[in-house]
Symmetry: C2
Subunit: 481 residues, 2 copies
């Protein structure tokens, strides 16, 4: 075997995969006919300049695929039957699946998803969304019956359905004090797609960005998939500290700030008004864009959410992201971004390559719902119910675990963030709770240390909350034993 | 100025942008206070080892931003007012917009989109979709009225709405002779998102893939945005030649084959049955996956489309992609992929990071429509109308331009592919036609030489086709003068 080929050490593919690939290719090209002897592991390792263990893994992989076989004493040979006459084989899907640049989702999140799919009777403190009781399902259903879809169902404007963008202009002005025009709005598949488009299209691999700690962003391998370097902005009771930005900029030359300033996920904290102004000042001094992810503000239990950064942003430093998910229905998949027109155009154009835009149908439903007389009463009902659920959760936690947990009581949002005051193994607690029929999200998913828990009180049935906490308390006591 | 910094020549950012960035950062850090003198262009060019013209551009950019100013005789200085007291500025959005890894869409496609947005009276031979006359708008509207949405609108199964996947299992078996299960199906935002997920998640930058020439794929900067190297499979009257695969594999080690074998976009050609078998053989010999993009087959005018590769694929080499766009409505944004379960899982997981999945609403509409008694009559009506439109187009072309054009008459699909037998400037023809109120897609968009045109006969109003061709003929004659 004349080896002019060498594995590429800078590739993201492991060395042994590369070697297995190369050998397979040579075999399929007849360079090694069926039955022929392959070089010994030692020899091949020498020729390729790799460890013998690397070659062992490469051969092992080819053996598993039935391409080669080894017999003690007679070395490693190309399989006969596999390659006889017309050798045919299935693509090595395993290798394709491992090969791309997208990191898999966090294992806790997969584990939660699988558990919920398997057992619908679990008490769900994990899914960060509204239950069907809280969603305006009836309103939407009636609205669809009364206004069936008659628009042309063709490829639509890449920025999104125009009537929805127009509704959002008045929604943003009325509810968020944000003045904008429909040409500065991009409709996306929830806030999620806004974040995805920003990380993919406005940043390049290797760029540094600042995100809150803890934060929803840590639950998203998306940032790492885009090759970004993440730097932390610790969140305290009044939010992140704007002065931290300066140091990060100086040291790491961060290019963007991602922040969820109002009823933050997972902590429930609001960035206080002074800090909002300071953050805008620092960002504009450094010419840094701020991504303001603001899905929760309209859930404010007293109906008076803090003003978004965007409403104070005179220089145009803020990309403002909103969504229907947390105030109406996550399954509609309707979100939006307010941004300078050049940014909106760029992202809309890139999005054409990804999915050709959102379906018009849910966009029309969203536009109608915003426009309808049902929207404001729905919001008011939602706030009341969320507050009631929060109270149920807080009472149950205080009763069942008065000393074991610490938390602040959130004034809006869907989540309660708890610190466990005792030493506990996250994983054991998670599994024990699951066994007892309760699922929650361990805080480490959001980048925090171990010993934190996020409870979503919007998702379980109202009547399950107290029972769920009792089960959680049992689980905690069991793993402390 | 002590320059320890050097621009990175391997970066995708231009040198002058990098230099402007760096200077701006130093200014904002006070390294150059307001009013201070910057190095001369010549000197800075020397220190950085770049051309003087590069520094000129960098300074020009900073001047445009109002960060520095130059006066003849007194050199280049940091602006005073901009940086006094609390210096504040807007992020340089221009640079963010240029910075990402997504290539902009082709300029012809943007030009077409803009023209159509501006002037809705244009005769549209360009948009590759069904007109409202051909879409089942009425059926869908009635169906929505009779079955309003009552399902819970939460985050759904990442593989897609289960009832739709179940309907697709029987649809695929009945209409495409593809036997599968709902766990092997992924619902996507049209075929577009299936292609996107495959290029992003199963391939890595630098990988080589084979695509047909001409092909829809060339209209997608998506492939280049994913960093893939494209190699061509020329398409003749009976499709691409499977033997070409071997050479590409040997030379470039292609990793995947993308093919649209039935009523190919843009040529309308079908890969003949013998070649289908050969292609499967070659692919399985080399262990190469085939992506079969099959949006058009059910438009077959005689109702007997060729069997897809997937129905002949015994080894599981084929990823099969379908869509509602070309047989019902592109604005629904419902497509699907049939793939090994491990692949479906991987792509579904990655997709969670991008958009959290499709809205349930259009998926339910699609499921109901497939299930309904309206589906088959709709298909039959669609085929009749498409054939009628094709005939209108062919007659008009033969009458107006009997010698100037050559084309084969397609037996299915939405498009007719023409060669212009005379020397003509693509761009002049395009602009002249636009001036006369007709828009089409120049063949170069699909990777062909100049002198080709794609006419979509599904999109304009039936009664506009003949007039549109007359206008096109006038435009062609005008640019030949
Ligand atoms: C802070 C934050 N941003 C964005 C999202 C994404 O939500 P969606 O895409 O449904 O709008 C979530 C969902 O949990 C969230 O908590
Ligand atoms: C061959 C081919 N594949 C895929 C697509 C994407 O269509 P959609 O995403 O609407 O299914 C098109 C659209 O023109 C096409 O022609």
């Amino acid at each position: 075997m004349i080896i002019i080929w060498k594995p590429d050490r800078s590739s993201s593919q492991t060395l042994y995969h590369q070697i297995a690939d190369e050998i397979e290719r040579r075999i399929s090209y007849g360079e090694f006919p069926p039955g022929s002897l392959l070089p010994s592991e030692r020899k091949l390792a020498e020729q390729l300049g790799v460890n013998r263990s690397t070659v062992i893994l490469a051969y092992e992989e080819l053996r598993a695929l039935g391409i080669i076989e080894s017999r003690t004493g007679s070395g490693t040979r190309v399989c006969k039957n596999k390659w006889e006459a017309t050798p045919k084989h299935t693509p090595n899907w395993h290798r394709y699946v491992e090969g791309g640049q997208f990191l898999p989702n966090l294992s806790y999140l997969r584990r939660i998803r699988e558990a919920l799919q398997k057992d619908s009777s679990l008490i769900d403190f994990a899914s960060g969304e509204l239950s069907s009781q809280l969603s305006p399902g009836k309103e939407i259903s009636t609205q669809m019956k009364e206004n069936p879809f008659t628009e042309y169902l063709g490829y639509d404007n890449p920025q999104g359905f125009t009537p929805l963008r127009e509704e959002l202009v008045s929604y943003l002005s009325r509810y968020r004090n944000v003045q904008t025009t429909d040409s500065s709005i991009l409709i996306t598949s929830g806030s999620q797609q806004s974040l995805y488009l920003i990380t993919q299209c406005l940043l390049a691999p290797g760029d540094a960005v600042a995100i809150e700690d803890p934060s929803y962003c840590y639950s998203l391998p998306m940032f790492q998939s885009a090759g970004l370097r993440l730097f932390r902005l610790p969140v305290s009771n009044n939010g992140m500290n704007p002065e931290d930005i300066r140091a990060l900029y100086k040291k790491h030359r961060i290019k963007m700030i991602f922040i969820n300033p109002t009823f933050q996920n997972p902590t429930g904290v609001c960035l206080d008004p002074t800090r909002r102004m300071q953050l805008l000042d620092v960002a504009s001094e450094l010419g840094l864009p701020i991504v303001e992810d603001d899905p929760f503000s309209l859930t404010s239990y007293d109906g008076k959410p803090p003003l978004p950064l965007k409403s104070l942003d005179q220089l145009g430093s803020v990309l403002y992201i909103g969504s229907f998910s947390k105030i109406a229905a996550s399954g509609l998949r309707v979100g939006w971004m307010v941004a300078p027109h050049s940014v909106v155009e760029r992202l809309a154009d890139a999005r054409q390559q990804m999915d050709f835009g959102l379906s018009v149908v849910p966009q029309k439903i969203a536009a109608q719902f915003l426009h309808s007389d049902n929207f404001l009463p729905h919001l008011e009902r939602l706030r009341m119910h969320l507050q009631y659920r929060r109270d149920l959760l807080v009472e149950a936690l205080q009763k069942e675990l008065p000393n074991e947990l610490s938390f602040s009581i959130p004034q809006g949002g869907l989540h309660l963030w708890c610190k466990i005051n005792l030493d506990v193994n996250d994983n054991q607690l998670f599994e024990e709770a699951l066994r007892r029929g309760v699922v929650f999200v361990p805080g480490s998913v959001y980048g925090s240390d171990s010993g934190y828990v996020r409870f979503t009180f919007a998702r379980p049935k109202e009547e399950e909350i107290t029972l769920g906490v009792a089960k959680f308390a049992d689980a905690l006591k069991a793993v402390l034993l």
